[in-house]
């Protein structure tokens, strides 16, 4: 069974602080995606990383895929209240289907 553990589970910080969310597994994934979900809405894709060691930047968000493609991290610089939400990593299971395995989730609250 492929599992993705995220840490921390909850995070409450002040506006302007930096933070890192981790997504770890013992399994290898073909690719890994990060989503953000706001209350009452479905998750929205932020980024997809495919190559081991890959780093992608999206404004104040930096995503990294581990060299062995088993783990990933999301770093947010100078967090803003608009960053508040549930962050989910999801790994592509591989094989014949495009089934996504979702991580356990990180609930982020950025206080103004």
């Amino acid at each position: 069974t492929q599992l993705l553990e995220q840490s921390p589970q909850f995070l409450s910080i002040q506006e302007g602080e930096n933070l890192t969310v981790y997504c770890n597994s013992s399994s290898v994934f073909s690719s890994l995606q990060w989503y953000r979900q706001e209350p009452g809405e479905g998750p929205v894709l932020l980024v997809t990383v495919v190559t081991g060691g890959e780093v992608k930047k999206l404004k104040r968000l930096t995503f990294q895929f581990g060299d062995a493609r088993k783990d990933s991290s999301l770093h947010i610089t100078a967090a803003q209240p608009g960053d508040t939400g549930l962050y989910l990593c999801a790994g592509l299971a591989g094989g014949a289907t495009n089934k996504l395995i979702f991580g356990t989730g990180t609930l982020l609250a950025v206080q103004p």
């Binding site: 479905g42 894709l45 997809t48 495009n98 979702f102």
Partner: protein, 117 residues
């Protein structure tokens, strides 16, 4: 991108009844999925809705409890049968257009919040 709507957006149901949730996409897509999510928690895949054939269910989910239909490439329904309070959750559909296998994007509907009394 894809625009996905779900009906109903929320419902409160009595134990023992059934509810059918609809998922409509604004364009044809290759893959449609149904997920369950407890508020503030992660998503669990229920099944892949296959057009023209029976859905593919994940471990722990069965067709008798969660019958799924997908009559065409833009529409699917999920029924939650013989409901109990444990079925209270958010149910989400998602779609993939079908592109590069490793980078294709899943687009999610807004979800249906179900409460079973």
């Amino acid at each position: 991108s894809a625009v996905i709507s779900q009906k109903p957006s929320r419902d409160i149901c009595q134990r023992g009844t059934s509810l059918t949730i609809q998922c409509q996409v604004d364009s044809q897509v290759t893959m449609m999925f149904w997920y369950r999510q407890q508020p503030g928690q992660s998503l669990t895949l229920i099944a892949t809705a296959n057009q023209g054939s029976e859905a593919t269910y994940e471990s722990g989910f069965v067709i008798d409890k969660f019958p799924i239909s997908r009559p065409n490439l833009t529409f699917s329904t999920l029924t939650v049968s013989n409901m109990s309070p444990e079925d209270s959750s958010i149910y989400l559909c998602s779609v993939e257009r079908g592109g590069h296998k490793y980078t294709d994007t899943q687009y999610f509907g807004p979800g249906t919040r179900l409460t079973v009394l």
